[in-house]
């Protein structure tokens, strides 16, 4: 599973795309957030951190599959 990164999450991780290893067994939004928070503790200090699946905001309980386009969405500040 691949996760796209933007803005401060790209800076925190030093990557614009993270590969989540299959053996990590991540299959929900909540599990993904937990795993990323362990790998990159600085992510936990953000005001908020959402996950998008195929360009839509996802909920913690939503399931994730490798075919989806998954992205981390730190607090937005456009406009």
């Amino acid at each position: 599973m691949k996760v796209l990164l933007f803005g401060i999450t790209r800076e925190i991780t030093g990557q614009s795309r993270i590969n989540v290893p299959e053996h990590a067994g991540i299959n929900t939004v909540k599990a993904l957030k937990g795993w990323l928070g362990q790998q990159y503790p600085a992510l936990r200090s953000l005001s908020s951190l959402a996950v998008a699946v195929d360009s839509e905001y996802a909920q913690d309980e939503d399931t994730l599959t490798p075919e989806q386009e998954i992205a981390l969405i730190p607090p937005v500040s456009g406009g």
Binding site: G7, S77, G79
Partner: protein, 136 residues
């Protein structure tokens, strides 16, 4: 609707799109780079977008606006990249038969854009820089 992410904002393009003989009112909001923020001098801003999702989320709020108000046309254009103070970074425009709808829809769209559209702004001051809203 005219929805896109660009390098440079073109106000005329947005206005030309919105103009219509059926519309009596056009409201345009232009967000620009301020030279100060929270007491500090801003020397530059950098905007980054998750393009595909940003377009999708702009379409959602545009559809909501069309559902709520009797609109003729609607434009949402956001710029990305490095921007100097004074530069326009977003233009939102709405045309409608009467002015109530254009004012209200335009205000709704900029408020919603700031809440949900995945675009990020990094402010550069003389001595450091921050991603706006990132931390509590």
């Amino acid at each position: 609707m005219l929805i896109k992410i660009v390098e440079h904002i073109d106000l005329n393009e947005a206005y030309a799109y919105l103009q219509s003989p059926e519309a009596g009112a056009v409201n345009l909001f232009v967000g620009t780079v301020r030279n100060h923020s929270k007491g500090k001098d801003v020397v530059r801003l950098d905007f980054e977008a998750y393009d595909a999702m940003a377009i999708r989320q702009m379409e959602h709020i545009a559809n909501e606006a069309f559902d709520k108000w009797p609109l003729v046309k609607l434009a949402i254009v956001h710029a990305v990249g490095a921007k100097d103070p004074g530069t326009p970074v977003v233009v939102i425009g709405v045309s409608s038969a009467h002015r109530d709808a254009s004012f209200e829809a335009c205000r709704f769209l900029i408020d919603e854009l700031k809440k949900t559209v995945p675009i990020w702004k990094k402010e550069f001051y003389e001595d450091n820089s921050v991603w706006v809203n990132a931390h509590p």
